[in-house]
Each structure stands twice: as structure tokens, then as C-alpha cells.
């Protein structure tokens, strides 16, 4: 048989393609990181000047007047996030436990799937649901309804993190506990969940960071408020809402305050994410056997 032979040299085109693809990948990495750095730079440059004592302690001044601050919004965000955590964390951990310890069946798959679907539902749609489930029956906007919306959004993240961490707990540990006559509920809570606690906390923090800056679901639940409010059933200001309102306003001073509010928001969120990163990387070093 005749033996046709392959070309002997690595072609110029192949070299060129290789160099082109490499350049593209490097350029893509740079191009993606540029906006990130730009956003952080602008937040610091434009925001830091307006973060002062008044900003942190006063409520907003009427439109057009200079001064005032976002104290009520900072506290409002705290209240809403507290409500969200009270709803999202237990339900999330509970369903995570179900998925890991009971959910090796059809219903488990269904829950797992719905959790992922819920994760992808646009936040504005969650806002509509919270509006018609809480605001409409109560007949007014409230911090509580905002917390409900954000709490719902936390559930899938917490649930999947809990499931994943529990699945990493070796079965011998559970068996050892059962062998000693410890009931399943006690084993799950005091042994499995405790062993997995670092990972579960990580999941909760990530969920927290994810909803902390959410704005869309608060538009028609928490609604916003120019004044102090500490009541759960009253309209409440939130940092993210305030940033939005100020950013699209025509007043220069409000624009400055929007940057300052955004800076505080990002510090809160990046702080949470970085804390998670540091704890998990340390955990990974420890657990790398």
C-alpha cells in the first residue's frame, strides 16, 4: 500500500493560531479584570470623600439641600438582612439536611432541582411574589416583606452548601454514633452538622453577601424611607435602594452620597466574601490529607 505521509514541519499557520489564541486568552483575562479594578477605584475615589460622620449618623436632607446622610438606610439594611437570615438560614440548613441525609430519592431530586431553579429566578420576580404575599395582605410596604424576599433568595445557596458539606462527612462517623445508640436526629445535629459547620457557615455568608446588595426585590417591599424607622411593619430605607434613588436623581450632592453608600455596601459584601475565602482556604490546608 502506498504510504502517504504527513507534512514534516509544524506549519506557520498552526504556530500563528497558537500564538493568536494565547494572546487572546491573556487579553481576555486582562479585559475582564479592568472593569473590576475600575469599579473599585471609582468607588474609593468618589466614595471616600463623602463618607464622614454626618453621612453615618444623619438621615437624608430634603431633595436639593446639601448634607445629611444614610444612617437610616444603614440600619434599615441591617434590619432587613436580619429578617432575611432568620428566614433563609434555618430553612436553607433544614432543606440541606434533608437533601444530604434523607434526600436520596425522587423527592430529593425534585427539591434539589427546585432549589437550583429558585436560585435562577430573577430577583425582581421574587419581589413581585413577596409583594403579593406579604405587602398586599398587610396593606403597606414593610421591612418585613423585604426580609421575606431576601430570605427566600438565600435558601437555595444555604441549602446546597449544607448538602455538599454534609456529604463530605464520612459515613463512618454517623455509623459510629448510631452504633452507640445515639438517635438519628441527635447524630445529625451534634455530629454531622457540627463536623460540617465551617462549610455551612461559609455557605450562609455567601448567601448573605449575595442578597446584601440586592435592590430590585426591595423596590416594592421595603420601599425606602427618608426617615428613621425601626419597626418591622413600616416602610424602611436600605442602602442599596438609597444608592439607586440617589444615582438617578438630578442632584450633585446626592450623586456623591450614592458613591459613598455604594462604597459602604461593597465593603460589607467584599468583607463577607473575603472572610469566607480566608476561612475556606485555611480549612482546605488543614483538611488536605
Amino acid at each position: 500500500m502506498s504510504a502517504p505521509s504527513a507534512p514534516q514541519q509544524v506549519g506557520l499557520i498552526r504556530r500563528f493560531t497558537n500564538a493568536g489564541a494565547t494572546t487572546f486568552a491573556v487579553a481576555a483575562a486582562i479585559l475582564v479584570l479592568v472593569p473590576l479594578l475600575a469599579i473599585f477605584a471609582y468607588l474609593v475615589i468618589k466614595g471616600i470623600g463623602s463618607v464622614n460622620w454626618a453621612f453615618l449618623t444623619q438621615t437624608p436632607k430634603p431633595p436639593g439641600e446639601v448634607g445629611g446622610g444614610m444612617a437610616n438606610a444603614i440600619v434599615g439594611t441591617g434590619i432587613i438582612l436580619a429578617v432575611a437570615s432568620v428566614i433563609g438560614v434555618p430553612l436553607g440548613i433544614g432543606s440541606g439536611i434533608y437533601l444530604a441525609e434523607y434526600g436520596r430519592n425522587r423527592f430529593g431530586d425534585l427539591v434539589r432541582f427546585t432549589a437550583d431553579v429558585l436560585n435562577g429566578v430573577p430577583s425582581i420576580v421574587i419581589g413581585i411574589a413577596a409583594y403579593s404575599l406579604v405587602v398586599v395582605p398587610q396593606k403597606h410596604f414593610s421591612a418585613f416583606s423585604g426580609g421575606v424576599a431576601l430570605g427566600i433568595m438565600m435558601i437555595p445557596t444555604v441549602a446546597r452548601a449544607t448538602e455538599e458539606m454534609l456529604l463530605m462527612v464520612p459515613n463512618v462517623i454517623r455509623e459510629a454514633a448510631y452504633g452507640l445508640g445515639i438517635p438519628k436526629w441527635r447524630t445529625t445535629l451534634s455530629i454531622s452538622l457540627r463536623t460540617a459547620s465551617a462549610g455551612v457557615i461559609t455557605g450562609c455568608m455567601l448567601a448573605f453577601a449575595r442578597v446584601a446588595g440586592e435592590t430590585a426585590p426591595l423596590l416594592f417591599t421595603a420601599f425606602g424611607n427618608q426617615f428613621w424607622n425601626l419597626k418591622l411593619n413600616q416602610p424602611t430605607a436600605a442602602l442599596s435602594l438609597q444608592v439607586f434613588t440617589y444615582a438617578i436623581s438630578p442632584y450633585d450632592d446626592w450623586h456623591k452620597q450614592a458613591w459613598a453608600g455604594a462604597l459602604i455596601l461593597i465593603v460589607l459584601i467584599v468583607g463577607a466574601v473575603a472572610a469566607v475565602r480566608i476561612t475556606t482556604s485555611r480549612g482546605m490546608l488543614k483538611g488536605g490529607s
Binding site: M1, S2, A3, P4, S5, A6, P7, Q9, V10, G11, I13, R14
Partner: protein
């Protein structure tokens, strides 16, 4: 046609750990040469240095002189891509491309090299599969079955066919039969025996009977050094070095 290999002063490192100490070895063209030695002695590292696969591992590097025929593998103008095309390699675990058909698996290297002539490609694929003794088993499902749907032994022969299709001058095999059952193993051994008519083969093996069956020459490695290198018969009957003898008898005894 196969070409000879001349290795002089080859050193290799993983990070700071040196895993090959100045290896000198001359591999005869169109013969099968076996590389044996205990686990971790540097057999894989050695054959991976011959086609510059070693340097694909992060932190790994190699120094020394390797000449394959006229080609200076570590010469300043040498291109690892070209080196690897001319020196085929078969790995311990069969690694066919799971998303490609059998045909495309064999043709993969040809397509990389800009081969477009469909008719010649068909011929080359058929020839390679025949050389690898797989043709009869797969000729009816060349395009229908994926590379991953074959049995382990068939997958390994597919990988051999894939390596042969680009017409290498040397074929390196790193324990090609260690993941296979006895029947597949004997098929591969038979195949290696056939291949030496056209190629220079270097085979790493854990199994000394296998070395004795397929190879004319055998090199014994220990802790990164080439202890003894001679005719296979000599190595297995009257080794010159005590350490070789210990290893051989320890295993055979």
C-alpha cells in the same frame, strides 16, 4: 522506518527533586528496548523525557542531549511540537478521545497536521488500525462508535493506532498493558513484536516476563540511574551488576 536514539547525560527534575541522574543510553533502530525497575525509579520520567512530555508538568525540567535519528531533541532550534509528532507515545491508562468516533480518534493527529485529503486519510486510518490489530473488530463501526465505547484492551490498541497514524519514527510505550487483562495483554505483546519491523520501540514495563518476551534490549533503572543496559538475555541470565541480579531474582524467585 525507525531510527536510533542516543541519550547522553540526561538529567531530570521535579521541582527541586532530581529524578534522573545523567543517563547514557543508545537505543537501536528497529528493535524493541525494555525499561525495567522498581516503582518510582524514574522509568516513566525517562521515556517522557525522550519526547519532551516531561516538561508539560509544571515545575518539571530536563537537561542533557537526546538525539533521535538526525533530530536533536533538546537542541536550541528544536520544537517540542515537532518532536512529539515524530515520536509517538502510548500511555499506561488507555486515553481515547471520548467525544470522537473511532475514525476521528485515529485521524486526530493527521487533522492536526493539516491533512485534508479524505481518501488518503481513509487509507492511513485503515493501515494504522490494521497495524494495531484492531481493524477487524471495528471496521463496521468506524464512524458509529465513540472511542470510549470500546473495551479496555481495544481502547489501548486504538491509542496505539492513533499514535501510529502520524507515522512516528519511534514509539514510546509506558506500561501499555498494565491496565489490561491477560488476553488483551498478549494481543498487545504480539503487536509490539510486529511493530519493530517499522518502528523503534521503547517500552516501560513492570512485568519482567513481558520484557523477556518482547524486548531484544533491556535497561534496568534504580533510583533515577541506569544501572545496567544490555541484551535482554544477558540481563535476565547473567547480569553484571549485583543490584540487577537482586532485582531479577527477587522478582523471579
Amino acid at each position: 522506518m525507525g531510527v536510533g536514539i542516543e541519550v547522553r547525560g540526561l538529567n531530570a527534575w521535579y521541582g527541586k527533586n532530581q529524578s534522573l541522574n545523567s543517563i547514557d543510553m543508545t537505543v537501536a533502530a528497529n528493535h524493541v528496548t525494555a525499561v525495567i525497575g522498581p516503582s518510582g525509579c524514574g522509568k516513566s520520567t525517562y521515556v517522557r523525557c525522550l519526547n519532551r512530555m516531561h516538561e508539560t508538568i509544571p515545575e518539571a525540567r530536563a537537561e542533557g542531549s537526546v538525539k533521535v535519528g538526525e533530530m536533536d531533541v533538546y537542541g536550541s532550534g528544536s520544537d517540542p511540537v515537532e518532536v512529539r509528532r515524530r515520536i509517538g507515545m502510548v500511555f499506561q491508562k488507555p486515553n481515547p478521545f471520548p467525544t470522537m468516533s473511532i475514525y476521528d480518534n485515529v485521524a486526530a493527529g493527521l487533522k492536526l497536521n493539516g491533512f485534508r485529503n479524505r481518501k488518503q486519510m481513509d487509507e492511513l486510518v485503515e493501515r494504522s488500525l490494521k497495524l494495531a490489530a484492531l481493524w477487524e473488530e471495528v471496521k463496521d463501526s468506524l464512524h458509529k462508535k465513540s472511542g470510549a465505547s470500546l473495551s479496555g484492551g481495544q481502547q489501548q490498541r486504538l491509542c496505539i493506532a492513533r499514535a501510529l497514524a502520524v507515522e512516528p519514527e519511534v514509539l514510546l510505550m509506558d506500561e501499555p498493558a498494565s491496565a489490561l487483562d491477560p488476553i488483551s495483554t498478549s494481543k498487545i505483546e504480539e503487536l509490539i513484536f510486529q511493530l519493530k519491523q517499522h518502528y523503534t520501540v521503547v517500552i516501560v514495563t513492570h512485568n519482567m516476563q513481558q520484557a523477556a518476551r518482547v524486548a531484544e534490549f533491556t535497561g534496568f533503572f534504580l533510583m533515577g540511574s541506569l544501572i545496567e543496559y544490555d541484551k535482554t538475555e544477558k540481563i535476565f541470565t547473567t547480569p553484571a551488576d549485583k543490584r540487577t541480579e537482586d532485582y531479577i531474582t527477587g522478582r523471579f524467585g
